[in-house]
């Protein structure tokens, strides 16, 4: 029989850019898996729903997928906010909720049915900072982040911690808001403090103009970016101003492992554009789920199958586009074991010309 898997991502609204990339990643992996014979002969069927990046819709979509479409597990939602609202639904229904793009703290504390393979930046950023400090000889940095968005704000929190741990002096901390087009006021202020680098927690739509405008103001120091900046789009959007951006992530467009090369090639062929980290993580997420499914005996009784899948997932070890992957247990607020986070190695790379060059 077909194996139904729910996909709840933001395909419209402000987060659609990420939601569509994620959906593409799932679709690509699913097609490959099915073409290779499926899961022990059964095909994976995706049930895709748009959750618009809104929490109410995420809840509605989760309920629909779980109770009406009777899917075996649910991927998504796109944004951490929506996950905070929707994952408890899956937890209560004893169905796996697998996030591939939720990076905020505390998502996996919701319960033992909550999984994610998106690396929390807590693991990655110290490494990025360390490499950048070494290569660019940093003594002090300025910080700039989007303070009204979960993704960029939790990125900032991790940067802050990493900077404190590294005892790196911060000259000034500035913020911007989603949708801003002008960042010169903040950048002028940063420039006056003479930092050796700017630590930037932003998504590409703001991050690219920030880099351009910084260069226009005569700020030529390196940028250290989070997950959101890890996209080849930077070369297009910040053309001419994209050099010296350090990013750290398990996935890099320039990482030439066979798995990644295959992924990038297949994705580019299918969707007519280069993949980003969101797509890569979704792609790997589907393969991880497939591994667990292969190890599960599906009986056709939904509750039992869902539970079995959950039990199988934590044991998956997989090497995909984002490198070697295993799960690690997270704790809930009371400190008791709850869901599962990703455990992966970060690759730090820096932009030069139109390429990410791997620094480590």
């Amino acid at each position: 029989a077909d194996i139904k898997i729910g996909v709840a991502e933001a395909l419209s609204g402000g987060a659609a850019q990420y939601g569509t990339a994620i959906r593409n990643g799932f679709q690509l992996a699913t097609d490959e898996i099915n073409a290779a014979g499926g899961i022990n002969g059964n095909k994976i069927v995706l049930v895709v729903e748009d959750e618009q990046g809104k929490k109410e819709d995420a809840i509605n979509v989760f309920k629909k997928l779980i109770f009406q479409d009777n899917v075996l597990m649910v991927f998504g939602p796109t944004l951490s906010n929506s996950a905070q609202a929707a994952d408890p639904i899956a937890q209560a229904a004893k169905t796996v909720a697998f996030g591939t793009s939720n990076t905020a703290d505390g998502i996996t504390s919701i319960g033992d049915y909550v999984f994610r393979n998106s690396v929390t930046e807590a693991d990655v950023l110290p490494e990025t900072l360390r490499v950048a400090t070494k290569h660019a000889n940093l003594k002090k940095v300025a910080v700039l982040y989007g303070n009204d968005d979960v993704f960029t704000k939790s990125g900032y929190d991790n940067f802050k911690k990493a900077l404190e741990d590294a005892k790196m002096p911060v000259t000034t901390t500035e913020t911007f808001a989603k949708g801003d087009v002008d960042f010169k006021a903040q950048l002028t202020k940063i420039k006056a403090t003479n930092p050796d680098a700017i630590v930037l927690s932003a998504l590409i739509a703001e991050g690219a103009p920030i880099m351009v405008q910084a260069r226009q103001l005569g700020i030529n120091v390196p940028f250290i970016g989070g997950n959101g900046m890890n996209s080849v789009k930077i070369f297009d959007l910040a053309k001419g101003a994209s050099d010296k951006l350090y990013v750290g992530s398990p996935w890099s467009a320039s990482n030439a492992t066979p798995e990644n090369t295959k992924f990038i090639k297949a994705y580019t062929a299918k969707y007519n554009g280069a993949p980003d980290q969101f797509a890569a993580q979704a792609y790997d997420g589907m393969y991880i789920a497939a591994q667990a499914l292969k190890a599960t005996k599906l009986t056709g009784a939904l509750p039992a199958d869902r539970a079995a899948l959950r039990d199988a997932l934590p044991n998956v070890k997989w090497t995909g586009a984002t490198g070697a992957f295993t799960f690690t247990r997270a704790n809930d607020k009371a400190g008791k074991p709850a869901g599962y986070d990703a455990k992966q190695q970060a690759i730090v790379s820096v932009t030069k010309g139109t390429q990410f060059e791997i620094e480590k």
């Binding site: 419209s12 609204g13 402000g14 659609a16 850019q17 939601g19 569509t20 303070n147 500035e174 913020t175 911007f176 808001a177 989603k178 949708g179 801003d180 087009v181 002008d182 010169k184 006021a185 903040q186 002028t188 202020k189 420039k191 006056a192 590409i204 739509a205 703001e206 690219a208 103009p209 351009v212 260069r215 226009q216 103001l217 005569g218 789009k233 297009d236 959007l237 053309k239 001419g240 101003a241 554009g273």
Partner: protein, 293 residues
């Protein structure tokens, strides 16, 4: 640093003002807060980027194309949506709600066609490097935005103040019935206003789109909220008011980043707007509109 910040403020203020010009025009003449203006702005940017990419056109052609393309959109919206509502004497908030529907259609339509990813103008559309005068950095684009917004303001103000058509537009703004009585082709001027206002919106879309150079379907939304603040603070359909209010907002934002803290920027800017309204309950140029009891 202050001198650079003042320059930053001027150019940001002009960005807001530029967006507000068309917005306030349609607000003034049709009496509609056109919530699809943000979407029109986006359509203009997408149109120019697409034309320029497809046909390798220079910027001025892109601007012209965006003006015409968005203008036609504005005209179509007027004919299909606003005009029937005028005919039916719809209560005054209804057209605004209709424009929300239009915005939803445009935003999602563009996304369905172009996808949600960021788009940009062809490289080299406008020189990226900044000019430097005595330590102050300005780009050609910023100069252009400042220039264009002031020139447009001047032209629009003159047209409204000095020409018979301008008087007719102001007459319509106050009372379409009175305008009819003096023989003004009210419907015709409504069309024209919708066309020009939307055209200006598209123009602003291109220039401001170039500023961040990362276009996306919802790029008009953040501008919309600030635009509303600007046109209301400036006073119903008051071009000079919109310009001044735009500059006010720009300066408030930049100076609060410089001296108070960037995380308080919007709170300071909107808090100031709030205070201004308490002192001048009819906006900056409110006294002009006071009516007799």
């Amino acid at each position: 640093m202050l001198d650079q910040q003042l320059v930053n403020a001027l150019s940001l203020g002009c960005v807001y003002a530029l967006f507000a010009l068309g917005f306030t025009l349609i607000f003034g003449v049709l009496g509609v807060i056109n919530l699809s203006h943000g979407a029109i702005f986006m359509v203009g940017a997408y149109a120019a980027a697409t034309f320029m990419r497809l046909f390798s056109l220079p910027l001025w052609m892109g601007l012209l194309g965006a003006f015409l393309f968005s203008g036609v959109f504005g005209l179509v919206i007027d004919v299909l949506v606003l005009k029937p509502l005028r005919k039916r004497n719809a209560p005054h908030l209804i057209p605004m709600i209709a424009t929300i529907g239009v915005a939803i259609i445009l935003n999602n339509g563009v996304q369905a066609i172009f996808g949600a990813e960021n788009l940009r103008f062809p490289a080299g559309t406008i020189p990226d490097d900044a000019l430097e005068f005595a330590g102050i950095h300005v780009t050609v684009l910023e100069l252009g935005i400042v220039l264009v917004s002031f020139v447009l303001m001047g032209v629009l103000m003159l047209a409204l103040k000095r020409t018979q058509m301008g008087r007719a537009l102001r007459a319509i703004a106050e009372s379409p019935k009175a305008a009819y009585l003096v023989g003004v082709n009210v419907e015709g001027l409504f069309y024209m206003t919708s066309f020009i206002a939307a055209g200006l919106g598209g123009l602003a879309g291109v220039l401001i789109g170039l500023y961040s150079n990362a276009l996306f379907p919802l790029m008009g939304q953040p501008m919309l909220e600030k635009g509303i603040a600007v046109i209301i603070l400036g006073g119903m359909g008051d071009i000079r008011g919109a310009m001044l209010a735009g500059l006010f907002l720009g300066f408030a934002e930049v100076l609060s980043v410089a001296y108070i803290g960037s995380s308080m920027r919007d709170a300071v800017a909107f808090g100031l707007l709030f205070l201004v309204l308490l002192v001048r309950p009819k906006g900056l140029f409110g006294s002009l509109q006071e009516r007799k009891v």
